[in-house]
């Protein structure tokens, strides 16, 4: 896929093969992330810490390699589109098992796809293109008619519309296969999860072979604590937006965490276009540079530029227009996202300059979700971690997070199968139609301790924690 190729060229430097030291088994790998992971369910994980935990606990049907291409994961091969891109046969490897030793079969894949459409899932975008997903969502159907289990190892997925790139959805961490008991099939299995972090132990049944490390520790740490732990050799890897002096620099994650301003036309009414113009007039490159702590890029559409770059030069900022109007806006932002708090402050200033008095209302996650769901805002800042390299799926994910599943399904259908240029034009149209103002996309930096080996960052920013190992002592 062209978009994936562009991403690979731009973002993923060639990773040298391990030298003469073959991986050593054993020991514990200690990873520090922005916040302590709390969610183990792939259908619910949203922030980067939870997604890293999901990658450690679960296996995916397909994987993304370093060049942005799909490669087999739990599936024996990358499925080939059938019926003009509407159907895919998924064939599992033989002998797969969950971490508790129970067999993993086609029925588990079908159930895992279905549960993404259940209420509360943030990742229905994976399954929304499947035939009958709308009826399933509405409760009009109890099973997904588009998913047919053919045997223990094979299932047929039929989509509601042609989408040749749909297999990229199967490489998102949220597409992980989960047992009915919630068990994963990843390189590690959960030992403990508490407020300080997650402790994991090796899964002997992983399809690729047991992980090199015996244990994995995922802990939350602020920038200062992370720097201290790295310098003292108490952490092997830190994934945070900041870079750390003295740490071994590794490939960063690509800027796929998108921040969009969501307008509420029901409350803004005739002022919607004016507010949109004011926000669009902000220099987004400067916004990204000043307020995003990690690697960042300004956005033009609801799809991050790493996946869908503008075909020509970036359009000039839209003039804010004249004629100040006495409007007071509620600007909703999430409390535990420092970048967005800063951006909300900046927007507040810009809106004030344009005659719009905005109050930045920063809320905790649950309150934010409640107000956003009830449309209790004029402008909301929403951050979406894009998990698929296909522009259509990325657009669907952003649409789902901002406008709900039915709109997301329409976006997925409209973007499916488009060429790069056509996709950009359609993404521009959809961005406006959805009353979104894309701001910027950010990534995170990986800083490794001196002995860490095996870190291979995929084109989607993930990595396989089972590949991590430590080169000991004087051999570093």
């Amino acid at each position: 896929m062209r978009a994936a190729f562009v991403l690979a060229i731009l973002l993923v430097p060639p990773v040298p093969a391990n030298g003469a030291a073959r991986p050593a088994y054993g020991g514990e790998i200690r990873v520090l992330v922005s916040s302590a992971p709390r969610v183990v369910d792939p259908a619910l994980a949203i922030n980067s810490s939870d997604l890293m935990l999901v990658r450690a606990l679960h296996s995916l049907p397909l994987e993304i390699d370093g060049e942005g291409h799909l490669s087999p994961g739990l599936l024996e091969e990358v499925p080939v589109p059938e019926a003009a891109g509407r159907a895919f046969r998924l064939l599992l490897r033989s002998g797969l098992r969950f971490a508790d030793g129970t067999p993993l079969g086609a029925a588990d894949v079908a159930a895992s796809l279905g549960r993404l459409l259940s209420s509360g899932s943030a990742h229905a975008w994976v399954a929304l293109p499947i035939l009958g997903a709308d009826a399933f969502l509405d409760g009009r159907a109890l099973v997904l008619p588009g998913v047919e289990v053919l045997s223990d190892r094979e299932l047929l997925v039929t989509l509601a519309f042609p989408m040749p790139e749909w297999p990229f959805a199967l490489a998102a961490p949220t597409a992980a296969v989960v047992s009915r008991g919630g068990e994963g099939a990843g390189p590690f299995r959960l030992k403990t999860l508490d407020g300080s972090g997650a402790r994991l132990e090796v899964n002997p049944f992983h399809w690729r072979g047991r992980a090199f490390a015996d244990r994995l520790l995922l802990k939350g740490a602020d920038a200062r604590a992370a720097a201290r732990a790295l310098s003292r050799g108490e952490a092997d890897l830190v994934q945070r937006p900041e870079a750390f002096a003295g740490a071994r620099s590794c490939p960063p994650t690509p800027p796929l965490l998108v921040t969009v301003a969501v307008l509420n036309p029901r409350r803004l009414g005739s002022e919607t276009d004016h507010v949109r113009n004011v926000i669009q007039s902000i220099d987004r490159a400067e916004l990204a540079r000043r307020f995003a702590r990690g690697p960042s890029a300004p956005m033009e559409t609801l799809v991050p530029p790493a996946l869908l770059p503008a075909p020509g030069p970036n359009p000039r900022p839209v003039p804010a227009g004249d004629g100040a109007r006495p409007v007071r806006l509620a600007l909703l932002a999430l409390a535990d996202a420092p970048d967005q708090r800063a951006v909300a402050g900046r927007l507040q200033v810009k809106l004030f300059d344009a005659g719009l008095r905005a109050s930045a209302e920063v809320e905790g996650p649950s309150r934010f979700a409640a107000r956003f769901g009830a449309e209790d805002y004029d402008v909301a800042l929403v951050a979406v971690p894009v998990l698929s390299l296909a522009p259509s799926l990325a657009a669907g994910q952003v649409a789902l997070a901002t406008r709900g599943p039915m709109v997301a399904r329409r976006v997925l259908a409209e973007m499916a199968g488009l060429s790069q240029d056509a996709a950009f034009a359609r993404a521009e149209e959809l961005t406006r139609a959805l009353d979104l103002v894309p701001l910027f996309a950010t990534g995170e930096r990986n800083s490794a301790g001196p002995g860490l080996e095996g870190l291979r960052v995929f084109a989607d920013g993930g990595f396989d924690p089972g590949e991590l190992w430590r080169l000991e002592g004087e051999n570093r």
Binding site: N18, G19, A20, A21, G26, E67, N475
Partner: protein, 444 residues
């Protein structure tokens, strides 16, 4: 340069005046090819030349003996370029000019002779030096015994490096393990990739292969294998890939390697004289348990909880008979009794082998480095020397992940072959087999 101790010992052990048996046999063969004197012309000047000076005298003695038995009256010649005119002036009937040497890569000695008539021809007496008939070429070759190999080893060129490193051949895929030894019909190299077991000639050309059925194997994240060439009963190649249910003994059948037996232990390494070591992979891993036994022993238990990347045997034994590399990248040197033979060597890369490159009776360690930046180096370490690192190559792109010691060039002295794994432009792995040799014929 003083003769190496081993060569000296061999020369002292041989009966005075008697050429090595292998040399005598080949000289006998050359005599048979020559046949008895024709028309009573028995006078023969014998000129033997060889790049290895030590081979000239014994070859001359063996040939003189063989030719005398056929009825020739042999006079050794030192005439050099003037040998023919000297023989003619001395009234000899023939000049037999013989080139003696080792056949590269085959551990064979060869004699190639040019039989030149040197009697005066009545019909050609106006043409000084004219030959009465056309010269005739004769040749013979046969297996070289250790004495002949020692004599045939050429002098090292003055100022030459300790050893030379050159590419032997290229194999698609990542080579996991290597072995050098007698595969039944001569010296050969065994190489294991994740998909195949290969038998290669000493030039690195594939001569046979086996692609095992991997269904039912346990998956190993970092594939690994052990391979050895030696006496394993029905076949001479034994291999076990990590995750496989058992080891296999393979025998060559044309261009295929066929399973002739299975083993319940991993064949870790083998050496001349029937020396073999067996071990076991740690469950689910590509590393070995610290469990080395000279025979398959189901009761064997690990000696410690450390795991081993690999074990190498000195092809011809010696005070350092084995070496084991543990997961901290420290190399333990072991004697023939598997007891420590010296202090551990830290910082040895996983591509390592024991090989007595200079034929002095003590193996050197030929090893990769511990770099993890995508480049590697070949190092030759003489463990008991004051300056142990006797050779270090420039950086090589890739990683040396396997190695083996054994005689590849056919001079009777060990060489080493290393597997340098890198990636093709399309990302697929490829392995360059590197030859490390101190064979003077290979040195610049």
């Amino acid at each position: 340069m003083a003769a190496p101790p081993l060569v000296l010992a061999i020369l002292l052990a041989a009966p005075a005046g008697a050429p090595p048996p292998a040399l005598s046999a080949v000289a006998e063969g050359l005599g048979q090819a020559l046949g008895p004197p024709a028309n009573g012309r028995r006078g023969m000047a014998l000129l033997v030349e060889a790049r290895a000076g030590a081979l000239v005298g014994p070859a001359e003695a063996a040939l003189s003996d063989s030719l005398a038995h056929l009825g020739y009256s042999v006079t050794p010649s030192r005439g050099g370029p003037e040998a023919e005119s000297t023989a003619r002036a001395a009234g000899q009937d023939w000049l037999l000019r013989v080139q003696a040497g080792l056949v590269p890569g085959r551990r064979e000695v060869a004699l190639v002779g040019e039989l030149i008539p040197t009697w005066d021809s009545f019909f050609l007496q106006r043409q000084a030096g004219a030959r009465a008939r056309a010269p005739r070429l004769v040749q013979a070759r046969g297996p070289a015994d250790p004495e002949t190999l020692s004599l045939g080893r050429e002098e090292r060129p003055p100022g030459s490096p300790f050893a030379r490193i050159r590419t032997l051949s290229r194999i698609s895929g990542r080579v996991l393990a290597l072995a050098i030894g007698d595969a039944g019909d001569g010296p050969a190299i065994a190489a294991v990739t994740p998909d195949a077991v290969l038998l290669l000639s000493t030039t690195g050309r594939e001569v046979a292969r086996r692609e095992p059925d991997r269904s039912g194997w346990q998956r190993i994240r970092d594939p690994a294998a052990m391979v050895a060439l030696g006496d394993f009963g029905g076949g001479r190649l034994a291999v076990e890939q990590a995750g496989a249910p058992q080891a296999e003994v393979l025998a060559r059948n044309g261009d295929r390697l066929e399973v002739v037996a299975t083993l319940p232990a991993a064949p870790v390494c083998a050496a001349e004289g029937g020396v073999r070591l067996f071990g076991a992979f740690a469950p689910g891993e590509g590393l070995l348990l610290d469990e080395l036994t000279p025979s398959v022993d189901p009761e064997a238990r690990p000696r410690s909880d450390r795991h081993l990347f690999g074990v190498s045997a000195a092809p011809q034994g010696g005070p350092i008979a084995f070496a084991a590399l543990d997961s901290s990248l420290a190399l333990t040197l072991l004697g023939p009794d598997l007891k420590p033979a010296g202090p551990p060597i830290p910082g040895v890369g996983v591509g390592f082998a024991l090989a007595d490159l200079h034929g002095d009776g003590t193996a050197e360690v030929v090893a990769s480095s511990t770099r993890t930046d995508g480049t590697d180096r070949v190092r030759v370490i003489a463990p008991f020397a004051e300056q142990p690192v006797v050779l270090e190559s420039p950086p090589l792109t890739g990683a040396i992940l396997a190695a083996a010691g054994g005689d590849v060039t056919g001079d009777g002295v060990d060489d080493a072959v290393l597997a340098l794994v890198s990636r093709e432009s399309d990302g697929s792995p490829v392995t360059d087999l590197l030859l490390v040799t101190a064979d003077p014929r290979e040195l610049p």
